[in-house]
Amino acid sequence: MPDFTKEHALNAVIALGLLVVPLWAYFAGEIFTITLFTRITILALAGVGLNIALGLGGMVSFGHAVYFGAGGYAAGILAQHAFNGAPLLGLSGSNQMLVIWLVAMAVSGLLAAVIGAFSLRTSGIFFIMITLAFAQMFYYFAISWPAYGGEDGLPIYVRNQFPGLNTMRPLELFLICWGVLMAGLALFATLRASRFGAALMAIRQNPDRVASLGINPFGIKLAAFVISGMVTGLAGALMADLSRFASPAGMAWTMSGELIVIIILGGTGRLFGPVVGAAFLVGFEVFFGGLTEHWKLWLGVVLLAAVLFGRGGIVGLIAGRERFG
């Protein structure tokens, strides 16, 4: 284990801050702040998922919105079948979050396995374009397939349930999402420190050398890609419950772009990078969106500056260069 670094301190501050602000907001009656922080934790979780593929494995997926959207649909479709009692492939639907999460992860993991099996035959710029194109394919399909609302999307009338908590209360929903995010971060840290993570990072740097050691780079990358898709899919299910709505818009290429933005702004490969990136993006949108219709132009300027001058993202800016490989 490395020593307690500046980054560890920063991580602890962020994790606690993420918890304390909504608690304060609860007592101050600022309900919307809780909603906003719930959104941040969910987007951060989606980012943590992508960070496994992108940050650890160097796989620049420009199509992670597919898993996010698929997770949302898993939640929406199960809830709809639970709501109207119609069977789904012979089984009944469910309005239990724990069941929905498992299904969401299974579905998005399966999708990631299929897309990854094709896309990982290539690398670099090919990989970027192919993941984007496959995501677009599912997006068009979701829009035009009439069974679950098509472009109109799928409303969830009653938020899905979690044992012992009332998910309709903003604070309790937030606590669930915070807990899941912390679990996601723990998974990321464990993966990074494991032999699997070491192999993954080694493949990123020198695939041929790893192959010569008798390790199959394709298998390891595909496994990481599937795990990555599952975590992002779980975030999608949570987002559907927060907005009580699943829609193809969650699969749009702009969503994939935002997930990449979240990771790079925060700091690629950094444990808490996606959390910082998500907080920044949501904060920027709320603040500048209220000031001007043209806030996206300013977001573009900030992103450009981040690429040209701010290497290492916000976490890198505060905590210095990364210590891990």
Binding site: F62, F126, A133, S144, W145, G257, V261, K296, L304, L308
Partner: protein
């Protein structure tokens, strides 16, 4: 289904393919020479259409608009190359993705600020309006002109690359960047020229297509994604691959949208067949891409095979 209809649909596919080629050629050229992935290529398409529409409206002359749209896109391309992208040639693809994504946001909002939120009007020139009788069927003259125009640009591009000094340098740049710098070629200027050339092709496509489409913010991104599919199929960096890929995508997309609902209609109701057929047709070219990837992971014409 008649022979005439099939023939007309083939022409439509050919025309779509050639316009896609104009878009893909610039994208693949920029990648081949500079190793850059440019998501903002669709924004240059949009800029070409907007400036063409604005100038054509002010002057009453479409051709003046076409020149202006092409020039505006080339200028915008040169500007972003000099100010931003030049710094990213040695960066990894991730930085390029983020920077050009940021450029999409900036160029889209910038266009909206300059031209307003409503779509612009751009009509085909009077000399190219109406239809011609091709024997089998009537066909819009303007679309026929687009086919001719696309072919002419393709030939011109081939001539430029294989027969001129600039072409020699471009080919040298694709093979070995350090070497042409050592030969004393001003590599910075070359990169700017190549990028502006790619931008001009995109802008020209935007202006040409803008005359039969809505000229509006966001018109570039769907075309950009199709262009990605084209160059993945063709082989990234290969002009020839872009041509073959563009024609394949153009024809298969057009024929799929036309034939699939008709095929489904033979065994289900017309309404349902059209709905399901159209849903499947929309994913056909992505399936084509997947098949090509399985058979040839580097595309049909990998540049350094």
């Amino acid at each position: 289904m008649t022979l005439a209809l099939l023939f007309e649909q083939l022409l439509n596919g050919l025309q779509l393919g050639l316009m896609l080629f104009l878009m893909s050629a610039g994208l693949t050229l920029v990648f081949g020479v500079m190793g850059l992935i440019n998501l903002a290529h669709g924004s240059l398409f949009m800029i070409g259409a907007f400036f063409c529409a604005a100038v054509a409206a002010a002057s009453g002359n479409f051709w003046l608009g076409l020149v202006a749209g092409t020039a505006a896109a080339a200028a915008a391309g040169a500007l972003i190359e000099v100010t931003v992208l030049r710094r990213l040639y040695t960066a990894d693809h991730l930085d390029q993705v983020l920077a050009t994504y940021a450029l999409i946001l900036i160029l889209s909002e910038g266009t909206r600020i300059i031209f307003g939120p409503f779509p612009l009007y751009l009509d085909v020139p009077a000399s190219l309006s109406g239809t011609v009788d091709l024997g089998l069927t009537l066909y819009p003259l303007y679309r026929l002109a687009l086919i001719g125009f696309g072919l002419a640009v393709a030939v011109g591009l081939w001539f430029l690359i294989s027969r001129t000094r600039l072409g020699v340098r471009i080919r040298a740049g694709e093979n070995d960047r350090e070497m042409i710098a050592a030969l004393g070629v001003n590599i910075r200027a070359l990169y700017t020229v190549v990028f502006a050339l790619g931008a001009a092709l995109a802008g020209m496509a935007g202006a040409l297509v803008g005359a039969v489409q809505a000229v509006q913010v966001g018109m570039g991104e769907p075309v950009l994604i199709l262009a990605f599919v084209v160059i993945v199929i063709g082989g990234i960096g290969s002009i020839k691959g872009a041509m073959v890929g563009a024609l394949l995508v153009g024809v298969i997309d057009t024929m799929g949208r036309f034939l699939l609902p008709n095929i489904f209609a033979t065994f289900m109701g017309a309404s349902q067949a059209s709905s399901i057929g159209s849903a499947l047709a929309s994913i056909l070219i992505y399936l084509l891409m997947a098949v090509v990837l399985v058979l040839r992971p580097k595309g049909l014409f990998p540049p350094h095979a």
